[in-house]
Each structure stands twice: as C-alpha cells, then as structure tokens.
Symmetry: C2
C-alpha cells in the first residue's frame, strides 16, 4: 500500500486553516478581546430575500411526495434547467452565448478547480501567477505536476503577461485576482488566449470575483475574448456574487469547442462528474436560480455595494497611513505592503496581538507575497470601521 507521497511535499497546512487556527488560539487565550476578522474571504451579509424565498419553497417542495426531488436530472450532470437557463441568460448579457451542455453546476469553484485536474495527465506543466489563491499550487503538488510561476509585482501592475519563452500546458488566471485584486482588460486576456492557443494549453479561468468589477474595460468572462472557447474553462461561484459560502453552489463552463488529445473536455468532465459526484442540493440550486432574476440582481448588488463601501473604508485608512496597496476597486480584496519592513507573518502576529485584527499574510499566496498582506472587505461595516481605527492608531 503506497500513499500519494506528494502530500508530504505540501507545506504544513492549507493557508486559511493556519490563519483560522492561530486566530482561534489567540481568542482562547484572550477571550476578553474583541477580535475582528478581515482575513478569510467569507461573506457576512444575509442571503437576498428572493433567494430566501426560493429556498423556503424548495424546502417545502421536499416535504411533499408530489414535489419531492431526489437526484438532480441526468441530462446536464444533475443541474436543474431553471438554474442553467438563468446562468445562460446572465452570460448572454455579457455577449456570450452558451449551450446547456457546457454549463456544469458545481458545489463551488474550489471543488471544481481541484477536481478538473483529474482530466489532465501528471505530465503537464502548470503556469500559476504569483501571488495567487494557494489552491492552484497545492492541488498540483498533490497531482505531481511541474509548476512554473508568472510574477505579479508592482512593476507589471500585478498583471503578468505571457512570456513566449515559457512553455505551459495548464494556465491559471484569476481575474479579479485573489489576493491582489488586479483584473485584466479584454485586450490583455486576448494576449493570454493567443498564447494558450499557440501552446495548445488550457486556461483555467477563475472568475469567482467578477461581480465586483466596475470598470467596463475589464472582462467579466474570458469568453468575451475571441478564441477562448478553444482554450479555456471558466470557474464561477455564487459564493462571493450572492453570499453562498454556506450554501455551496457554483458553475463551471466547459465549451464544446475545447478539444485536447482528440477528446472533448466537456464530455470528459461530464464523465468525471457523473462518476465522482452526485450533484448539488435542490435547495441550493433553487436559491441560486433566483440570483440572476431582476429582483435577485438588484438585491445582490446592494450587498456588493455594502462590501465595496468596506473596501473604501480600508482604502482610506491605508491612504492616511501612506501604505502602498492595490485592489479594493474591482475586487473585495486589498493587497498592501507590510509597514515598517515587517514580513507577512510578522505583520499578521503584530496586527492580531496589538490591534486584535486578523488579516491574511501575503507570503501564503506565493513568494511575491512576501512582505505583503491581504485585507478583505467582506466583514461587518461597523467592525470594518473599528478595525481601521485600531490599525490607524497602531501604525500612525
């Protein structure tokens, strides 16, 4: 019996689990302190009223034989038409026409981002931005793949562009980026699409934060770019769009034109999911289907405006302290340089102990995160204001 020894190559623990653990330990030691978390990307606003209504109806459906739902429909890997259609409608507004067979309902982008790798041989080189969401690196370490990095630094505005000297088979793009908040324009994405087509590579495009985009020059879907259908898979989630972190629903778009090794990736994904997955809760799908209605969009935009106000609060605080930062405009994350030359975990501890505020150390996202720090806009508005006042007092 041989375990997958690559697990032993992983860093001790998943970044956010470590942040959570240190926070819990501090709170246990100091129960009298009011610790404010601007760390994990977890939402705090309740679900939109029309989503609640849809979910209550769905629960009620499950109480009666006539309306009870078991496994989701076979036809589109357990996705309900109502939800798939609403997603197609939302893409149409972005000028992207999808077919139902290309829309795969997931229990969140994170699961699908990890599980999509089942479709790819170990013998692929993976190109990952640095810094970025640690899942892309960790899942490929588990999978034994070679990883190369595309540096995102102040110099390139945290938006790496293709380097033709670099060969890559799987390319991760997260736009707006977690943790930097930087987002690509359509023209910039076109360069990546051309690179991917030339390399016969596949772009894994993480669009988890696209709903935060304000600037109309920025792409909301990679499929707005011509040629993307032949080289990209897009991962979307209701987590940040609609506050579904505790509801679990997302969608992965695998275009029918995406063929590699003579195989249709959408058919391979359908095979993988029908074999290793049993679909998303009916209640979650019905809640999600309410999101892209007129009422739903209005209600979630209110929540997003709330978070953007928090981002503004943090931004102004950092401005006052003359701390360099990026993000917060088209993204719920602010990416700042640690003050006083501290390194990331040093600043994490300093902030937790002296201001009782929790953020996420930038080094957890990659080597280019050393000396950087991430703060999120997802918290309570008053707590965010209070956290910023404490930070200002501590660092002025």
């Amino acid at each position: 019996m041989k375990i997958n020894e690559r697990f032993l190559e992983l860093k001790d623990s998943y970044l956010f689990a470590k942040v959570g653990q240190k926070t819990s330990e501090y709170k246990l030691k100091h129960p009298e302190k009011k610790v404010i978390r601007l760390s994990i990307g977890d939402v705090t606003r309740p679900l939109a009223p029309c989503v609640i209504k849809a979910m209550q109806k769905a629960v009620s459906d499950m109480s009666k034989k006539e309306t009870f739902k078991g496994y989701g429909p076979d036809r589109f890997c357990y996705g309900y038409d109502a939800l798939i259609d609403s997603i197609k409608g939302s893409y149409l507004k972005k000028g992207v026409k999808l077919e139902s067979e290309e829309v795969f309902i997931s229990d969140g982008a994170k699961s699908d981002l990890g599980n999509i790798l089942d479709l790819f041989s170990e013998e692929n080189t993976v190109l990952v931005p640095d810094p970025v969401y640690p899942v892309y690196v960790d899942t490929n370490v588990m999978g034994g793949r070679k990883i190369v990095y595309a540096d995102a630094t102040e110099k390139n505005g945290f938006l790496p562009m293709p380097d033709k000297k670099v060969k890559a088979d799987i390319i991760y793009i997260c736009s707006p980026n977690n943790p930097t908040g930087a987002a690509y324009t359509r023209e910039q994405l076109k360069a990546w699409v051309e690179y991917a087509l030339k390399e016969n590579a596949v772009i894994l495009y993480d669009a988890a934060y696209e709903y935060f985009i304000e600037d109309s020059a920025l792409a909301r879907s990679i499929f707005e770019v011509e040629g993307a259908r032949e080289c990209a898979i897009e991962f979307c989630s209701f987590s940040k769009t609609a506050g579904f972190t505790g509801v679990r629903c997302g969608y992965t778009i695998v275009p029918k034109e995406l063929i590699r090794g003579g195989a249709s990736l959408s058919r391979l994904w359908a095979r993988r999911q029908s074999t290793k997955f049993n679909g998303v809760s009916y209640i979650s799908q019905m809640g999600a289907a309410a999101v892209f209605t007129e009422e739903g969009e209005r209600e979630i935009r209110e929540n997003i405006a709330y978070y953007k106000k928090n981002a503004g609060t943090v931004a102004r605080c950092l401005d006052k302290l003359n701390i360099f930062y990026t993000g917060g405009k088209n993204s719920p994350y602010l990416w700042l340089k640690c003050p006083r030359g501290m390194d990331s975990w040093e600043f994490f501890d300093y902030l937790l102990e002296n201001a009782n505020v929790v953020g996420t150390p930038g080094s957890g996202f990659g080597k280019n995160g050393d000396g950087f720090f991430r703060l999120t806009a997802f918290g309570d508005a008053d707590e965010t204001v209070e956290a910023c006042e404490r930070i200002e007092r501590l660092l002025k």
Copy 2:
C-alpha cells in the same frame, strides 16, 4: 498538453447515465406509455417532518445577519458540531466510539469514495467485488490502478471471502451490497479485517445501505470489528437512510489509528478536503443533524419500512414467477436472474418495451452480473405494485 488518457479506457458512459438516457429516449418516443422506474437507487418519499423543520429554520437563519452562516467551521473540515455530535451518538449506539476529528461531513458517499483515491498512489492494486457499484471500478480506471476482482456468485452467497493468494492494497467492501443486497456478518468482516491488516491494505467500506439491515448478526459498521480502526475507512450517506439524494449529505469516518506510509490518513484527508472542498451547505447539515434525534429516527424508520414493503412486493412477484433472486431483506435492492436465458441488456430492453418498467442491467455492475438484473424498492408503493403486476403478466 496531455489529457488523462485513462479516461479513454472507460466504458462509454457511466451505467446509470446510460440507463437514464435509454429511458428518456423511450419516453420521448412513447409519451402515452406510463413508464415505471425501479432502476436508479433514488428515493421517492419526502423528507421527514423534523428534517424539514430543521431546514426551514436553517433557511430562516440565512435571512438574518445575526444568524447568517458563511463557510462551515474550520476545525473539523467545515462540519458543524451539531451534526458531528449526532453522528458520534449514532455510532455509540452501535458500540463504536468516535472522535470529532475522525468524522468528515461529505456531500455524499459517492464524492468521497471517488476523491479518497487522491490519497493513494497509482501503484496500488485494488480489489473490487464483482458485481458491485460501478463507481469503484470507474474511479480506479481513471486513476490508472490495477484492478482485481473478488467473485460474488450464487456459490458463495454473493459474499466473497479473502483469498490469501490475492495481493491487494485497497479493498472495497459494500455491505449491504449494491446491487446484490448481500450483507456480511461481523465474523465474516473480521476475516476481511485480518486480511487487510496482514496485507497492510486499506478497506474502503461503503455503508450506504446500513439502515436497511434487520438481521442483528449483520454488521452495521466495520468499526464493530476489532482491528478495523487500523485498516478501514467507512463511507456513509444520508441519501438512503433519510432520503437525502437531493439534499447531499454524508459522512466519512477516517480513524486516527489508520496510518500508512508513516502518514495519518485522517490528517491527509483533512488536508485534501481543506484544499479541494469547501464543505456542505449549512441547510443540508442542519437537516442531517435532525435525522439521528429520537423523532428523526422514528420518522426515517417509517420511510424505510415503506421501502421494505416495496421490496416485499417485488420479492413475492419473483417468487410467483419462480425467478431466482437475492436481496430485498436487509437491502433495498433485489438481484434476480434474467428469465428465459436473456442477457442483462436484452432483459432491460424487453422489460422496458413490453412492460414499460425500467430496471438496471446486472452486467453494468461487473462480469458476474451478466444474466442478472437489479430492481429497486425505492419507488412509489402503488407503482411498484403495478410494475409487478405488469411483470407477472409478461413473464408468467
């Protein structure tokens, strides 16, 4: 870019997807026919009232800031204490004491049965019963592992026992078995545990149907057997126990004593899940937490009695027709020999076209399923009676 070419070694499509497809095609061609499905293992009874109540409260919690829930708690891979504790309580009744760190809340046994393979090298030999739930074979074909089979036939009462001439690293046991309905006694499982300990193998024990067991000599959990903690992982689901096929919740028990290659499998699984999964819906977990209460157990036992009555209906029909079958007693499945020497898919088509009843061809579960057929007890009682009347008329 290299795809995972092992996908090309898979049979054309996942068995149940194929059954679903042929059924849909027939229904499209014959919209006037009333097709009765005794095929897929999908439940039809609505959720228990106390589960509905818990889920309605959970939805209501999500509508208010004070009670809103985002990501599940970090501590036990997103599992809520209320649910984990209820599961521990239910194990205690079976004489098995678990720790919270060993209980991993899943979105269903199927996902975890597939994903657990991430922990194991490709260089392991997998021992699978034949016939059995196709997922065990398909997921290992995807993973490139060598598969050997333990024959389950009339000769051994469909309960294969260890063969010391066979070397295996990963051993699948499904008890009660899908599709045969055969279930192991504790003594028989002890032989498997001893074999696994000798081989330094890991048993993947699928207990999805344990709630159907009536016979007290049969094990409901592998952990009732001494030594199992050192060699087994148990996969459980609320799907069949509580009708959660559309709610998506289960639990996987990875004992802390399970060490292979110097690594704790429960810590590896925690790492895998915290990296490639984001937990189960709060609503689903709260519904699940209501299942193992006194009220919940009473209500789900009513539903299970309903299904067992269906099993009895099918059993009597087969008795009348003098068709050999097994199962239906401690299991919701009946495993019958196809009449008139038909092979499995022949009988599938014959039954669908001439009685408008859908079952599952035994050959889809393995070579020992050739000439066999599976019928399920999960349907509507009246429809099950009607289906049996049609089968009787057709085959007498």
